[in-house]
């Protein structure tokens, strides 16, 4: 049964990215994780100057280069070819992670497997796998940025909630996330737990609560 048949329209990946971008003010320093978070950069309104940080030593990351304009030495943390905007700079890994861990980023937008009502985030490892673990910069970003927003699907492919009372996946960081953007809703994480800010067009509270693994509070 598709979402459209039950009467509401979940957001697509680009719509989710655009929804996040709308909330990023002019002048912020922002790190964008891999996946949907990366797409956020393309949706920053043109009247705002947002400085994108990439863990591998860039501030002022710009969009992918046009064909034939690739600088093979200029990649981002996702190992994609990128460009550098005016006002950007290059630095080494210790300085780059000083920006992250020293609380200098206004915002980090991450993907996740699960987010808990107390702000715990799980986005780096899958339980019970024999593959090698790989963490990259996920833990540094989750702990270091002034704000951590997550953008993800509201539920797993088989309908299990990703917004949960307590993470079942291995934690990336405890109590780190303050806002979650999903294909169904925008939810703040406060002392009270999940607080609903916005729903996808046509969606009702009860249906959203049903797909959420912890109590949803209505915004006051």
């Amino acid at each position: 049964m598709s979402e459209a048949m039950v009467g509401f329209r979940p957001l697509g990946r680009q719509q989710m990215a655009a929804r996040v971008a709308r909330d990023i003010p002019d002048g912020w320093y922002v790190n964008l994780g891999i996946g949907v978070p990366t797409l956020v950069a393309d949706h920053i309104p043109p009247d705002r100057e947002v400085v994108i940080h990439s863990e591998n030593g860039l501030l002022g990351m710009g969009p992918a280069p046009e064909a034939g304009q690739i600088d093979p030495w200029l990649i981002n943390a996702g190992k994609q070819h990128v460009t550098l905007r005016p006002g950007g700079s290059y630095f080494h890994h210790a300085d780059s992670f000083s920006m992250i861990r020293g609380g200098h980023l206004d915002l980090c937008v991450l993907g996740a497997f699960e987010v808990a009502a107390n702000g715990d985030i799980a986005n780096w490892a899958v339980p019970n796998t024999d593959g090698a673990p790989a963490v990259g910069g996920a833990m540094d970003l989750a702990v270091g940025a002034r704000r951590v927003w997550v953008v993800m699907e509201h539920t797993t492919k088989d309908g299990q909630p990703r917004l949960v009372e307590r993470c079942a996946y291995p934690l990336t960081a405890p109590g780190a996330v303050t806002r979650v953007y999903t294909n169904l809703a925008v939810i703040d994480i406060t002392q009270a737990g999940f607080v609903l800010r916005e729903m996808a067009p046509g969606l009702d509270f009860a249906t959203l609560q049903q797909r959420t693994g912890a109590p949803l509070h209505r915004a006051p």
Partner: protein, 226 residues
């Protein structure tokens, strides 16, 4: 559009509160944010903790700030220098608190504050008076002292060149404490000798990336004294 330039020293120092910890760049007279220190005197904040390598000389700048009774405590490595008369007198009179820190530990504590490292071990000062009361632990067979990060509420920095994004470059030995204090300040205020027009400083030669900088004021101050 990002533009961190403000029009005056007064604007640059707006909001510095009583009781603040103020990091002051410079080593000797070089790279010292003289106009910002004068501005701080004007601005009026008191009960300050000042972090700087030296404790001021003569009757101007930091020395004047101390003379006016606005500095509760100074954290530095070398308070005694030619002409540090104001500090010496206040110190002998018990009217200013002094925390003496080895220069490398001072630098590392500032950098740690900027880098999100709350504490670290170092062999410097182990087995000396300056380790008294501090936790000591052996690493690689030598005793090391636990030192804490030293963040500032405000950092006052002098740069040679700045652009509107707050990217900074310095001139020769004017670099000294400025880049690490820029990292360690909650509010980082810069006076710059020169302005780099758009598209800003070459990204390969930026020393302090703009993310560490909040406000910049253009002060073609000229050569350091001394």
């Amino acid at each position: 559009m990002i533009d961190k330039f403000v029009r005056s020293v007064a604007e640059a120092l707006e909001g510095v509160a009583d009781g603040s910890t103020v990091l002051v760049g410079g080593f000797g007279a070089v790279g010292q944010p003289n106009a910002l220190i004068e501005g701080l005197i004007e601005q009026g904040a008191k009960d300050l903790t000042v972090v700087a390598n030296n404790a001021g000389t003569g009757q101007v700048g930091l020395a004047r700030l101390m003379l006016l009774g606005r500095v509760r405590k100074i954290v530095c490595s070398f308070p005694r220098s030619a002409g540090s008369v104001v500090f010496e007198e206040l110190y002998k009179a018990g009217r200013i608190e002094l925390e003496i820190v080895p220069q490398g530990t001072l630098a590392e504590r500032l950098r740690a504050a900027g880098a999100g490292v709350p504490a670290f071990f170092t062999a410097t000062a182990a087995g000396t008076l300056l380790a008294q009361g501090k936790e000591v632990r052996d690493y690689n067979g030598r005793p090391c002292v636990l030192e804490l990060a030293l963040p500032g509420d405000v950092a006052l920095v002098e740069a040679w060149r700045a652009d509107r994004w707050g990217n900074l470059a310095y001139r020769s030995s004017g670099r000294n404490f400025n880049p690490i204090m820029a990292m360690a300040g909650k509010l980082t205020v810069v006076q710059t000798q020169h302005v780099a027009a758009d598209p800003g400083i070459d990204p390969e030669i930026v020393v302090t990336p703009g993310i560490f900088v909040d406000r910049v004021v253009h002060i073609p101050y000229g050569d350091p004294q001394g």
